[in-house]
Amino acid sequence: MSTKLNCFVVADPSKCIGCKACEVACAVVHCDSEVTTVGTMEIPIIPRLYLVQTAEVTMPIQCRHCEDAPCANVCPVGAITQEDNAIIVKEESCVGCKTCLMACPFGAIDLVPRYKEGELMAQIGLKAQTDDELSEKAQLIANKCDLCSDRGKGPACVEVCPQKALNVINPAKEKKNRNQEAALSLLDAVKKFIS
């Protein structure tokens, strides 16, 4: 069993300007077709990180890739597992029960329409009953940050943020940096008292 901590992306609220470039980039890189310009985006923008903009704070919120992910623990069909240090939802297995959405303390999971090759996918079995007829019902599945694990350059949100407000946190490295900064500042403080 690997004991390596999962990385995650987190935003710095002091830098975020609320432009949503991160949301756009996230949606674009997760599109199953090659999207470059607005004109080639034929499905809605569906991001996996979510900008919060209130009077007190502006920053996007996204998955923490928890070591004991509550979403994975509650999923009744085992659709959520750890793959290579990221918590991943297996789309085909998801039944849309929304327990993961309820379990996540960050609200990092959303249930969203599933698009394939520009078309909104319909449920294979379940139909919607309207007044006269049975019509198609859209597939809605759990959606969350996957750390852009199949992207060479890593998380797209981090790459495009114009304010450099988003960063990939490697917890082990981050902790070590903090220890070093703390030691240095203690050293400076101590120097003042050594004659």
Partner: protein
């Protein structure tokens, strides 16, 4: 209710107040507090559309509490078949006007396309950034139902004849120098509102778009045996300000509104999709002669330094009576900013300045006002690397790919030029023809009446 004359607008329901638009606006026309919806100062706005290119505040598909997408599409003048996401900053659209015009059997439909459109439109159909597709573009325009697919590059060549002659006249006869190019309507509006005292420096030449408009409804109507009143003159541009330019009240020297309607590259792509045309599988077609015949000099107008290079290819020969030693005037080429260079044209040491990115021109204008300018000719383009990076061009979604798009479109522009047999405006046989049959000579009476214009100081 007041009439909103703005072409560029900011949707108050979508704007998050990040102010990335305000940051890149070259004239500080975007107003508002950080974190609150922004507004555009319509008088000051030069309609360059860079804010439209920058804006990432999109309308979420399932957002409650805001106006529905259907209503927004109509508000924005977009076709209801459009699938693309909507953003806060946008330009008003005219695709429906063109669609209706194309369906009207009594109209004689003529279209022109800017040089920068043919190196970018394919991007909207999934082809790589900067794909060069003039043949498919012409084919798509034919398929849409235009009677004549003419081209702005033809009148770019015409502009060079007129502007080259005008420059030589000013240099040899002591006219106002330095002379400024006048093909970029956002730049022209900027001079009119911020530096009206420098208006005399602007070339009196109309832009290629407007020259085409007036030519279509005069000479064009004549050679096609059509009453000018029946001509529906459409222009496809990489630029949002060209919509402003075609609406300028004085742009009617044909006796009618010279350019009836302007569509951006993006709007044309939507119109093509709406008509069910499969752009990528279209067999290549030619532009219609004579008003669709162009040289490489005409097509390089789309890149910064292109107008200068095209002018030099012709002015060199007009002055020295010898062809320019190297048709590729590479010192004119470059990126955003101010480029200064000197070109030896016979005995004349011609000093030129090339500016792209409107904010970079201000120190140069101050230099001119202070009497310290020592150069003859300045090309100014508002958009970062010229028209290929215009406000109406396909909007690249990932910030990190925008520079690649600009570079590729620029490279495609010069590649197109390099491969054409015809590379100099004055060698274009249909340019010679229009002078022989209709205009007489550059700066002559007909040219003056139809192809030249006046500017007015304005508030901004």
């Amino acid at each position: 209710m007041s009439v909103d004359l703005g072409i560029i607008k900011i949707d108050q329901e979508l704007c998050t107040g990040c102010r990335r638009c305000a940051e890149i606006c070259p004239v500080n026309a975007i107003e508002g507090n950080q974190g609150e919806p922004q507004t555009i100062n319509v008088e000051r706005c030069v309609v360059c559309g860079q804010c439209v290119q920058k804006c990432s505040a999109y309308a979420a598909a399932f957002e409650e509490g805001i106006t529905s997408r259907d209503v927004k599409l109509v508000e924005r003048g977009m076709l209801t078949s459009v699938k693309e996401p909507l953003f806060a900053a946008y330009n008003v659209g005219h695709a429906k006007v063109v669609k209706d015009g194309l369906a009207n059997p009594t109209l004689f439909k003529v279209v022109q396309s800017a040089p920068a459109v043919r190196v970018a439109i394919a991007e909207e159909f999934g082809l790589p950034l900067g794909s060069l597709t003039p043949g498919k573009m012409a084919a798509a325009l034919h398929s849409l139902g235009f009677d004549k697919v003419y081209d702005t590059n033809f009148t770019a060549d015409l502009t060079i004849m007129e502007e080259g002659s005008e420059l030589i006249e000013r240099v040899t006869k002591g006219g106002t120098l330095p002379m400024f190019t006048s093909c970029c309507p956002a730049w022209v509006k900027f001079v009119e509102q911020a530096y009206p005292e420098l208006i005399p420096h602007l070339s009196s030449c109309k832009s290629p778009q407007q020259m085409a408009g007036v030519v279509f409804k005069t000479y064009g109507a004549k050679i096609n045996n059509i009453e000018p009143a029946r001509v529906f003159s459409v222009s496809i541009m990489p630029c949002t300000c060209k919509k402003f330019e075609c609406d300028r009240p004085e742009m009617n020297d044909s006796g009618f509104k010279d350019v009836d309607v302007v569509l951006t590259t993006r709007e044309l792509a939507n119109l093509i999709k709406d008509a069910g045309i499969d752009f990528n599988s279209l067999p290549e077609r030619e532009f219609d002669a004579p008003l669709g015949t162009y040289s490489g000099a005409g097509t390089i107008f789309g890149a910064t330094g292109g107008v200068m290079e095209a002018a030099l290819r012709t002015a060199y020969e007009l002055i020295t009576k010898q062809p320019i030693p190297d048709v590729d005037v590479k010192i004119a080429r470059g990126g955003e900013g101010v480029r200064r260079t000197t070109v030896q044209v016979g005995d004349l040491e011609l000093k030129v300045v090339i500016v792209s990115g409107l904010k970079h021109v201000v120190p140069v204008l101050e230099e001119i006002k202070a009497g310290k300018a020592d150069f003859h000719f300045m090309e100014v383009m508002t958009c970062p690397v010229g028209c290929v990076s215009g406000g109406g061009q396909p909007k690249v979604l990932l910030e990190t790919e925008k520079e690649t798009a600009h570079q590729n479109r620029t490279a495609a522009t010069y590649e197109h030029d390099a491969k054409l047999a015809l590379r100099k405006s004055h060698e274009n046989p249909d340019i010679k023809k229009i002078y022989d049959e209709f205009l007489g000579e550059p700066l002559g009476h007909e040219s003056h009446h139809l192809l030249h214009t006046k500017y007015t100081a304005r508030k901004g």
